[in-house]
Every structure is written in C-alpha cells, then in structure tokens.
Amino acid sequence: MKQHRRRRLEERFFLVLMVFSTVTVLGSLFLILYTIIRRGMPALSVDMLTKVPKGGYYLGKEGGILNAIVGSLYLAGGGTLIALVLSLPIALYLHSHARHSRVVHVTRLALDVLWGVPSIVYGAFGFIILLALGMRASLLGGIIALALLELPIMTRGMDEAIAMIPDALKEASYALGATHLETAVKVILRQSAPALLTAVLLAFGRGIGDAASVLFTAGYTDRLPDSLLSPAASLPLAIFFQLGTPFPAVQQRAYASALVLTVIVLALSIAARYFAKRLTRNVVK
C-alpha cells in the first residue's frame, strides 16, 4: 500500500513538472512576442518603413530603415532563388534516379550536417570566396552566403515533402513506361507542389532573419542597393547596429525594426504552414 501511494505521488510529481515545463516553453514564445510588440510599437512609424537613413539617423535624427528592408528582401530573395535552383533537382534526384541507392543516405547525412553548420561559418566561408574572387562585401556576396545557408534547409524540406507521396503513385507512373525524369516532373512535382512551396518559404524565413552570415559578406550601407556588386543593408544587422548605439531614441528604433523582422518571419512561417496543410488535401490517395 505504501508502494502504491509512493508511485501515485511520483506520477503526480512528474506530471506537474511536465505541465510546468510545457507552459514555460509556450510562455517564452508569448513573452518574446509581447516584449517585441510592446517595445517596438511606440517607435514604429510610416517614416521608418518608407525612408532611408538621413544624416545623423544613428544619432536620433530623421530617416527610416527602408534600406535594410529592401536589402533584406533582395538578399533573401536572391539567396532563396539560387537555393531553389540547386535544391529542387537534388530533392527530385533523391526520389527518382537515386532511389534505393547508397547515394541517398550519404546525401541526406551531408544535408543534415550542412543544416547544422553555424551561420557564422557560412559567413566566414562566403568571406573567403569573396577574397578569392577579389570582391568586396556586396549584395552578391550576401546572396551566396544565404544561398549556402538555405540550401540544406530547403532541400531537406523538399525531400521530406516528396517522401510523403505514396510510393505506389510513382510506381504506377514507372509501370506506364514513364522515365525517371517524366515521373519526377509530372507526378512528383505536381503532387507535392504546395509542400515544396512550404520548404521554400521556410528557407526564405531563415535567410531573411540571419545576421551572422551576411555580416562579412553583404556589408552595410544607408543607400538602397543599386547593383549586385554594391553593399546591401539588412534588417538583422540594422537591428544589431541600432541597438549598439548609446542613444535611447535609436535603440527604440532597433525594437521597432525587430518588430518588423518578426512580423515578416512569422507571416512567412504561418503561410508555410498553410501550404503544408493544403498538401494533404491535394494528394491522390
């Protein structure tokens, strides 16, 4: 009987701990959102979103962070485009030509490992590439670094999306005499399109939020980027630099910029989830 009470108590104790942990984890998200909204809202203005920094912006004078918003969209957009061009064929390859071969395991392991490489390392690697090419920090440099960062995220996302397609469907296509390529494009691609979009959006979200990889490679400027070879500002770095100034007014703007970035990333994340849900409706069972 004593044993009985003891294990009931143990069960209770751990259940309470578990619920407490879950609430803590979920609560931390809400606390972050609350903090960013609460502190970012007051400094957010139309000017912030539509103007580039004027003289003395970092001392608290006029201007906005349009340079960073546009720069970030260019950087992440370019990086995502390159990553897409590379990862779609790889993901398809894993499920068509290379199916059942050892290559698949090795590639997945390599992608998982790349996925874990810290973004500062991608930044350093991008920096070395720039040095080797005799280039300076520029929009192109940032795009390359972000493409590398996004490549494993996107490819693994697509890989998993394609894996959800029933094997029978692919086999039916092969059985009709379709080649691997035809099956990949006409069956796999079509069936998994919404989920592939999910992978793209998630990768874009990671790219636009990453600071360490663009720190060395994209540089920073108060102007809008006008060519691939000129430096480009980015939102994460804008936040970082503004927060680093000693002026409270500028720090306020850092909070507002953080709010802008958070809204963009969360919107992407929610959109991605929406498309992922659509997949299950479209797949032929």
């Binding site: 044993q3 009985h4 003891r6 294990r7």
Partner: protein
C-alpha cells in the same frame, strides 16, 4: 460452473460517431476458458480491451456501461486503473518484449508493484515454467528478450503477464503470429492455466475454440449475438447468424 467472474452490463463503445460495441451484456464464469469468436472487425479486440480498460489508451474511444469484476464496477469513478489491469492481464496478438533482458521482462511487473522482497528470482523461474519457457532460457536469462524467437517471445509475454498474479487473463488471438508447434505450446499452457485463472481467448480459428473453450461468445457487427457453453453453442446454436457463421457461409 462456478460463480460469475466478470459481468458486462450495457457496454457501449463509440469511436467518434462510429458505434463499435452495441449493448453488450454478458457473464464470464470464473475459471475455465471462454472463447470469443466472430468475423473480422466485429469488435472482439475492442471488447477485450474494454475489460481491462486498455481501450482508453486509444484517443477518441468512448465507453459507457459497466464491467463488474467480482461484483465491483471497474469503470466506477475513482477506480484505480492500475489495480484493474493488475488483476486482469492482457496478452496481445503480437509479442512485445520490453526493451530489457528476459529476466527483467518477467521481473518487470513485480518490480513496478514493489513486490521485490528478495525472492524475485523464484517468481521469474515459477512463471517462466508456467509459460513453458524455463528450460529453453534458463541459461541465458540476461540476454535481451528481443533475441528470442517469436514463439518464445509470446510465451515470455505470457510469463510476464502471469508474474503479476492476475485473476483473469485476456488473450487476443494469442497464437496468430506463431507456427503450429509454438501455437500448440501456448494452447497447452492456457489449458493448464484455466485450473485457477479465468481465461478469455479471442480466436479466429474455430477449431481452436472447439479445442479450448468451455464457454463461447459469438459476436457479429458489434453485437453479442449468443453466448453459452461450448457444447451447446457448437452443436445447437440458437441464432441463425451463429449457425451461418459456424457453417462457414458468413464472416
């Protein structure tokens, strides 16, 4: 026949809007073997799992009605589920050896109940013997249970279930994963166990039911159509559906 061990009263089970068990009323006598037969999907497994409250592990299952064990409802508010399951054991169709050694598998039940007063080894030996496995494993008690053959694993699961000294043993197609020889082994252990346990066996094999059963329950589309002694039900079934099933024309 002795007193009734388990009485099922107005038992209904829903899964979402699907009505899986309809108004089951039955009495399972103490000791002896009761066989539950019926076509696939008629609810045999569901009935069995509702008798030791394992059904509530499936999210979305709703149960109403009563299952009385020795006159006490196991679904009464405040009933201790673990006590119910200790008294009513369940043997699954597929063996699931726990991720530990052969010895630890059998010792698991007594341990979690805190009965380890020194003679754990004897408990393990006694129950492995009762399951007819002792001679095959006595020299390798410390090896992982997953190394045993499927037939041996199933007998290990039997020993494991017996080690918590249940009054009732529910067996869901206990031989369906086994070869004929192993199946025969399990059957003969069940024959021995019925001396002092109430054994309920779900089976697809009519000949197995004929060999083992003292009582038979026939189910059909979620209903309990007929119950009775084996002799009565097999020789002169009352319900036309039972007749048809036994003749092999339905199910």
């Amino acid at each position: 026949m002795e007193a009734t061990q388990i009485r099922i009263q107005d038992l209904n089970v829903w899964y979402g809007s699907q009505h899986i068990l309809r108004n089951i009323n039955a009495a399972i006598p103490a000791r002896g073997i009761t066989a539950i037969i019926g076509p696939s999907g008629c609810g045999k497994t569901t009935l069995l799992r509702s008798i030791n409250r394992l059904l509530e592990e499936t999210e979305g299952m709703r149960v109403s009605g009563q299952v009385l064990l020795g006159g006490v409802d196991i679904y009464r508010p405040g009933a201790d589920v673990t006590a119910v399951r200790t008294r009513i054991g369940l043997l699954a169709p597929k063996p699931f050896p726990l991720p530990m050694s052969i010895y630890e598998n059998v010792a698991y039940g007594p341990r979690i109940h805190g009965w380890h007063s020194g003679h754990l080894y004897e408990i393990v030996q006694r129950n492995l013997e009762a399951a007819g496995l002792w001679d095959e494993v006595k020299d390798r008690l410390r090896t992982p249970a997953s190394r045993l053959s499927t037939g041996q694993q199933q007998r290990l699961c039997l020993a494991r279930a017996l080690a918590v000294e249940p009054q009732v043993l529910l067996c869901d197609e206990p031989t369906s994963a086994l070869d004929p020889i192993s199946a025969q082994g399990v059957e003969s252990q069940l024959q021995r166990l019925k001396q002092d346990h109430t054994v309920v066996v779900v089976t697809h094999i009519l000949r197995q039911a004929r060999r083992l059963a003292d009582n038979v329950m026939f189910m059909w589309l979620g209903e309990l159509v007929e119950e009775g002694t084996a002799v009565q039900l097999f020789t002169s079934p009352n319900d036309p559906r039972t007749k048809a099933y036994l003749a092999g024309s339905i199910g």
